[in-house]
Amino acid sequence: MLVVLLLLATVGAVTATLAAVDQRDVAAQWEERALALEAQRDIVDEQRAEVVDQLEVTRDALVASERDVDELEDRVRDLADEKARAEDTATTVQVERDVFIELSELISDATGALDSCVTQLFDLQSASVEAFNRASAGQDVDIETLNVRSAEGTRFCNEARTTAASAEAAADRLLRS
């Protein structure tokens, strides 16, 4: 019985020794593995630090670009505003020019009518002086012709008055609008 036990103990001791040797190798492998993992961790840490640096640089660049774009857009808006206001002024000037052109035409019409009136009055005056001289010299005077010229002068002058009044009213309306 004791021999069997001793045999078993010997076998056990040998097995344990073999297992210990094997485990020492395993431990060495695990140590090697741990060192490799540590090296990898250091690499990842370095990569992370680099990426963080890159992100910060990118972020700074983005903020700077955003600021630049904002400033440029502000400038574009200011220029667009100046252009739009200049167009407003041009439109207003155009409207004023149209008004003045219309006024000029109205005044021209009124002036033309008054000129016709004055011409008629001069003609009537000349005819009247001639008739007076003829009457003084004892010659015949055509009163009917004088009356026709007088009526014609009156008509021209009334038309001139109407045209002038119309121009005045139109000018008033245009300048007030």
Binding site: L5, L18, V44, Q47, V76, A80, A84, E87, T91
Partner: protein, 237 residues
């Protein structure tokens, strides 16, 4: 301890040692590329919304029969511009100025009869960005922005909040209008009221003078008029 126990312990220890630790088997992998989460830059996103909203907002110059008017508007697809009716009534000549200095000729294609809305058609819209409309109604307290050209000046973005809806019939509107706590001045009329995503929720058309509260026609009213085609041609001088 008896010899039997000692021998048994040795055997157990031997078996335990043999079974306890396995050698590393999986190959060591190279470190994977570092992945980062998406850049979260809310301030840039907010700036983008404002920028986009300004790009779709235009300045409207109308030379009418008896008056010269300035207002705002915003661009929809196919060169259509939405503005207020009171900005361009009885037009002789309408010009649209974009934020970047373009001047585009436009024609009034329709005036709403029962709400302060009007549509213009640009002769050449080019590559103008287009506004997107939101069909869902605004909520009380919702953050919004009014974009326009107050005083005919540069485009201005005014932030504020929706105070609620108010009966629009006293203002000549067919339905409720949006009451909004936003700085609005003459010249802002016709400009869009947008939500924080840049979607148009209303068309600015008036201001409560005493309280300085802005009023806007809801987009729903605009969509109804567009769908029904209830728009009339402008009158002649």
């Amino acid at each position: 301890m008896s010899p039997r126990l000692r021998i048994g312990g040795l055997l157990f220890a031997a078996l335990a040692l043999a079974a306890c630790v396995e050698p590393p088997t999986a190959p060591l992998e190279a470190p994977a590329a570092v992945e980062t989460e998406d850049f979260e830059l809310p301030e840039v996103a907010a700036t983008s919304v404002e920028r986009r909203a300004q790009e779709v907002t235009v300045r409207v110059r109308s030379l009418g029969c008896q008056q010269f008017g300035l207002g705002s508007g915003f661009v929809l697809a196919d060169g259509v511009v939405v503005t207020n009716r009171h900005v361009i009534e009885q037009p002789r000549e309408v010009t649209v100025n974009t934020w970047d200095g373009r001047s585009l000729a436009a024609e009034v294609t329709g005036l709403a009869t029962d709400t302060d809305l009007a549509l213009l058609q640009l002769e050449d819209a080019g590559d103008l960005p287009v506004a997107e409309l939101r069909t869902a109604p605004v909520q009380r307290g919702e953050e919004v922005f009014a974009i326009g050209y107050p005083g005919g000046g540069p485009a201005q973005v005014s932030p504020g909040r929706v105070l609620g809806m108010v009966d629009g019939t006293v203002l000549g509107e067919p339905a409720e209008v949006i009451r909004v706590e936003v700085e609005i001045a003459q010249g802002s009329s016709g400009g869009p009221l947008v939500d924080r995503d840049g979607l148009v929720v209303g068309v600015v058309f008036a201001v409560e003078v005493d309280a300085g509260i802005g009023l806007a026609v809801p987009v729903q009213t605009l969509l109804e008029r567009l769908d029904a085609g209830e728009l009339v041609a402008p009158g002649a001088c």
